[in-house]
């Protein structure tokens, strides 16, 4: 077998040639668009990830050219490599769509659905997945599983109830940091992400677990409740960082930097890992060299209200009346929101009632 061997694979009637050893999911990603199965646990940058969430199940209607029998069961596309002449059905298969609906229902069984509170809302993969494939109601009649809240440090907040046990954060800590301090404890229904004996996560690159988390289980404590994702404007920026590449995405509102994350590609995966210093401590515009607004898919809620290539309307009123029109109401004098003396982005953690009380 030569090293350059290419396999022909047909996914949803689209044929593509891929190198041997590629998984079905990656082959589908090369085609792109709706053909790509969703993935909650697979992460191309993390070795060994995948095979846990079962959202990427596809039907293999023809095994290969040599053995054209279909595979007896739906297979996880992130773990199955392509064979020559393989035919895969994803969205063209009723069976797959039905199974995916079932998987989403199972993922949501214990999910608290507290999206109005959750900081991940708007960029949550589980939200997208259930919007596309989920049922509108639940059939589950019992209490949802709950956990005792655990504090895992000053920068990362852990909401175990939202976790879908994708193991991405575990792999991230294994492969990016010297010593992993958190992991999955217990089994089955009791399985939970935890640190041993309440240790806090403390490592230069541990902030990346926030970015890899597909749900809101691990979120940025410095951004907690500060603003909704879709009201902040993503901007690409970089800085000279001694530990990481320094290429980040700033989430800004006006001149305030509310949040720093790594840049993500169209599959929602981090392009380059960033260090904790960039993520949690550099929250001022002067720390960064701003490159320009990030490209966000126009179907995303994040791109609401962000218009591109717009022309400002030509105002003529000042020329007609010969002076600037009188400002009848300066909203900042009346409004309590966005007060100049309360900089939410400068507060360490989430705002509390006393943060708004000063100078009132």
């Amino acid at each position: 077998m030569s090293e350059q061997q290419n396999f022909k694979v047909t996914i949803d009637n689209i044929t593509i040639e891929v190198p041997a050893g590629t998984t079905i999911l990656n082959a589908a990603r090369m085609i792109g668009g709706e053909v790509t199965p969703p993935a909650m646990c697979y992460y191309s940058k993390l070795e060994g990830s995948g095979g846990k969430c079962r959202t990427c199940l596809v039907e293999v209607s023809k095994g290969s050219e040599k053995d054209p029998r279909p595979m007896p069961k739906l297979v996880a596309s992130c773990r199955t490599t392509v064979m020559d002449g393989m035919e895969v059905k994803n969205i063209t298969s009723e069976k797959v769509l039905d199974a995916r609906k079932g998987v989403v229902e199972m993922l949501l069984i214990n999910h608290p659905l507290d999206c109005p509170i959750c900081d991940q809302a708007g960029e949550c993969h589980l939200q997208d997945l259930s919007y596309e494939h989920g049922a509108s109601g639940t059939r589950y009649e019992f209490d949802r599983r709950t956990f005792e809240k655990e504090d895992i440090g000053d920068y990362i907040s852990l909401h175990m109830t939202r976790c879908i046990l994708c193991y991405r954060c575990v792999y991230t800590a294994d492969q990016l940091t010297n010593k992993r301090e958190h992991g999955i404890l217990d089994r089955g229904d009791h399985a939970e992400i935890s640190t041993l004996l309440g240790k806090s996560l403390d490592n230069e690159f541990i902030g990346n677990v926030i970015d890899v988390c597909p749900v809101g289980a691990l979120t940025d404590k410095t951004f907690r409740f500060k603003n909704r994702v879709w009201f902040t404007k993503p901007v690409d920026a970089h800085r000279d960082c001694p530990t990481c590449s320094g290429k980040v995405r700033l989430w800004m509102r006006g001149d305030e930097v509310f949040r720093v994350t790594a840049r993500k590609d169209k599959w929602g995966e981090v392009e380059e890992w960033i260090c904790n210093d960039c993520r949690f401590h550099k929250k001022e515009t002067k720390d960064w060299v701003i490159e320009g607004p990030s490209k966000i898919d126009r179907h995303s809620v994040i791109s609401q209200g962000h218009y591109v290539n717009t022309e400002k309307p030509h105002v003529l009123i000042d020329k007609v009346i010969g002076k600037q029109p009188k400002l009848l109401l300066d909203i900042h004098k009346v409004s309590d929101v966005n007060r100049r003396d309360v900089d939410l982005s400068k507060i360490e953690g989430p705002a509390h009632s006393d943060d708004f009380k000063k100078n009132q």
């Binding site: 507290d114 999206c115 109005p116 509170i117 809302a121 907690r224 409740f225 500060k226 603003n227 909704r228 879709w230 009201f231 809620v301 609401q304 009848l328 109401l329 909203i331 004098k333 009346v334 409004s335 309590d336 929101v337 966005n338 939410l344 953690g349 989430p350 705002a351 509390h352 009632s353 943060d355 708004f356």
Partner: protein, 165 residues
């Protein structure tokens, strides 16, 4: 010119008859119409004392709801502000502290919540978007005022009184 409709009538310019010339029958006809209106149902109401019933879908001034225990329902999720076509709603969220459980229903709440009534078009999208049944459009007309500042409604203006107090 070609006629556009068949509704036009040629003006009758023939000389008046004797009955039309004495005018009295025409005056009597006019007066019957006038006097007839006295006995008909009035189209107006005397407003401050009497009020017309609102239509069941009427959308008036906003209120922020509380739950049965008097806690604020709003969690500052921002969906009303997102749905608002006039961008009238702004808010700032805060985390509930231990000891504030009787004030706020959830872990997160709206520390500041404002509706700019000068911008609001009373479309009711905020009510529809709210996942927590917090914002409602009541059957109250928005009061008028002389200053623009008074149309910026803060959270204190919008919250319903606490039923427990």
């Amino acid at each position: 010119m070609e006629k556009l409709t068949n509704k036009s009538v040629q003006v009758d310019r023939s000389p008046m008859t004797f009955g039309e010339k004495i005018y009295l029958p025409a005056i009597a006809k006019g007066l019957t119409i006038t006097i007839g209106h006295i006995f008909k149902k009035k189209a107006t109401v005397s407003y401050p004392e009497q009020k017309r019933p609102f239509s069941p879908v009427f959308r008036g001034l906003h209120i922020l709801n509380r739950d049965e225990e008097g806690r604020e329902r709003c969690t500052a999720c921002g969906l009303c502000a997102l749905a608002c076509p006039a961008e009238a709603i702004t808010m700032e969220a805060a985390e509930r502290k231990p000891g504030e459980e009787h004030l706020y229903r959830e872990e997160k709440y709206a520390a500041k919540y404002e509706i700019n009534m000068l911008r609001c078009i009373f479309c009711g999208y905020c009510e529809e978007a709210c996942p927590k049944d917090a914002v409602y459009l009541s059957e109250t007309l928005m009061p008028t005022n002389f200053t623009r500042e008074s149309f910026i409604y803060k959270k204190e203006d919008l919250l319903i009184p606490n039923p427990k107090k």
